[in-house]
Amino acid sequence: MKRLPVNLLIGAALVLLVIGAAALSLIWTPHDYTEMNIRGKFGPPSELHWLGTDQLGRDVVSQLMAAARNSMAVALAAVLIGGSIGTALGLLASAIGGWVEDLVMRIADIGFAFPALLFAIMLAAVFGPSLTNAILAISFINIPVFARVARASANQIWTREYVTAAQAAGLTRAAISRDHILPNIAAPIIVQATIEFAVAILAEAALSYLGLGAQPPAPSWGRMLSEAQTLMYLAPQLAIYPGLCIVTAVLGFGLLGDGLRDVTDPRLVRER
């Protein structure tokens, strides 16, 4: 049995921790994360409140767990939306080739250079800040990323003999893209999705921190961070906890993505 890379194992452990907390929050949190208790504000860690309470006396652990759920949902939606559109575009570009491919990839280059934050601010300016707009903005930046990966991988698969054989059997380019190309580029797409999951978590935190994402009372690590910022001297732990959560989640998905790449693309490992 081949030994799994360390980054994969650490990444998987961190990801399991975060996803586990998020999943658990769906059925159970120690307290209702919205429940305020002004007299119990800035409470120290106790048997009742494991990480204490915030400036409104809300249970910190419960908030972090609910925020994990929010973060995972936003990242999942954004990666799914951006990933499917981008992958479809990449497959299309690769299947058609010629000027269509050039055009799609030039547009992807422009999209790639476009800062997500700017796009989110534009969306917020036009439609008002909301979690949906944050998801749309993060999805949007994912499209060119996946288009590139899908197109580069698909171009390789198109040269395989089984694709020639499928063409010889009269299959259309669309059918070949669906039945033969897509399954064979799944590995690099999944690796990219894992890495983009990390990027999306960070982006959601940043947008919510700026007030462009989750709106109160929706829980979010980014918003917890911005609320805690004004209380840095009074209660620094309120900023540290969500910060640690963001680092854990981003690092976890990043390492997992790296590790998956090492496992699925042995060529890259050997080159190191």
């Binding site: 089984y162 054989a165 063409q167 009269g170 299959l171 259309t172 033969h180």
Partner: protein, 324 residues
């Protein structure tokens, strides 16, 4: 019926195929032999409408009387599988590693014949049985890596037969297989061709296999069809110096030496190597390597000569007799 007239394929200034003319009628079994790079696969791909995008084609190809010059990709897609199908050299590489072989075979059945999933499955089972795959029920669900090389080639033959093509092109179908398996695949192709009155274009390095499988033969060198005729006649009394070179180092027409792995030897070596496509002589392509070359050979294209009934060769010095 497939009819090629003066079909040429150019890659910029280089010529991969020069004025090839061939007619393939129902039930014909035509062999194509020649060293690597002589244009055998290019000829096959032209018949499939699958020449590389970089290639420029000239000359005419008609299929059942229809001129394919203005055929679109969509037209070709409709012809492939139903009129002309192809199997390849590497049966492993020619099967999608992530697809069950049954699904691969059912694809064209559903696409071209519009069969339901059950009907396509039933037909795939029949095809597997026809090409001699044991326990077809179980095989349908297997992945390529679970099958042996010979079984994989049989799956690809089943795939090629799926829509009852008029012509089956086999591009070096046995090169990657063990000797015994190669023999059985060759015989299978011959049997299928006879049973279905399906034309077979059998491309091979292996003269023994071609002798066994075909009734007619075309010898290719440097993009030219240098000799044509009935297989027996050509192999028994080759008219073109290149054909003689191919046969020269061989003990007999039916027994080629095998290497340590039991694979059939490639074509016996002719002194020198095939020049690059762009460096081929303008006249006879074989000039420079030919043992009986004349001064005009390199610059002057030889005319077609008729060394025997139904035979042709392009050479300034055709037939053995001319040498004597």
């Amino acid at each position: 019926m497939f009819d090629l007239t003066n079909l040429s394929v150019h890659f910029g200034p280089a010529t991969a195929l020069r004025e090839a003319s061939l007619t393939i009628r129902p039930g014909d079994r035509l062999g194509i032999v020649g060293e690597s790079g002589s244009g055998k696969s290019m000829l096959a791909l032209c018949l499939m409408g699958m020449a590389p995008e970089a290639a420029t084609l000239s000359g005419t190809l008609t299929i059942d009387g229809r001129d394919m010059a203005d055929a679109t990709e969509r037209d070709w897609q409709a012809l492939r599988a139903r009129r002309v199908a192809m199997i390849f050299q590497e049966p492993m590489a020619a099967l999608n590693p992530l697809s069950r072989v049954g699904d691969t075979v059912m694809d064209p059945l559903r696409l071209h014949l519009g069969l339901s999933k059950q009907a396509a499955r039933a037909r795939a089972l029949d095809l597997f049985a026809e090409v001699g795959i044991p326990d077809p029920e179980a095989r349908l669900r297997q992945f390529p890596h679970e099958l042996s090389g010979g079984q994989r080639q049989r799956v690809l033959i089943a795939l090629a037969l799926a829509c009852d093509p008029d012509l089956l092109i086999a591009d070096e179908p046995t090169t990657a297989l063990d000797a015994n398996v190669a023999l059985r695949i060759t015989d299978l192709l011959v049997r299928l061709s006879a049973e279905r009155n399906m034309a077979l274009l059998f491309i091979s390095h292996d003269l023994a296999a071609v002798a066994r499988a075909t009734s007619d033969i075309a010898v290719m060198y440097g993009g030219d069809i240098v000799e044509r005729g009935p297989t027996r006649a050509v192999l028994d009394s080759p008219a073109h110096p290149y054909t003689r070179g191919l046969l020269g180092a061989r003990p007999s027409a039916t027994a080629l030496p095998r290497d340590a792995k039991g694979k059939r030897a490639r074509l016996p070596t002719i002194p020198g190597t095939v020049p690059g496509m762009a460096d081929l002589p303008k006249g006879c392509r074989f000039a420079g390597r030919c043992p009986v070359e004349l001064p005009r050979c390199a610059s002057e294209r030889p005319a077609v000569t008729k060394p025997g009934p139904d035979r042709s060769a392009i050479c300034h010095v055709p037939s053995k007799e001319a040498l004597a």
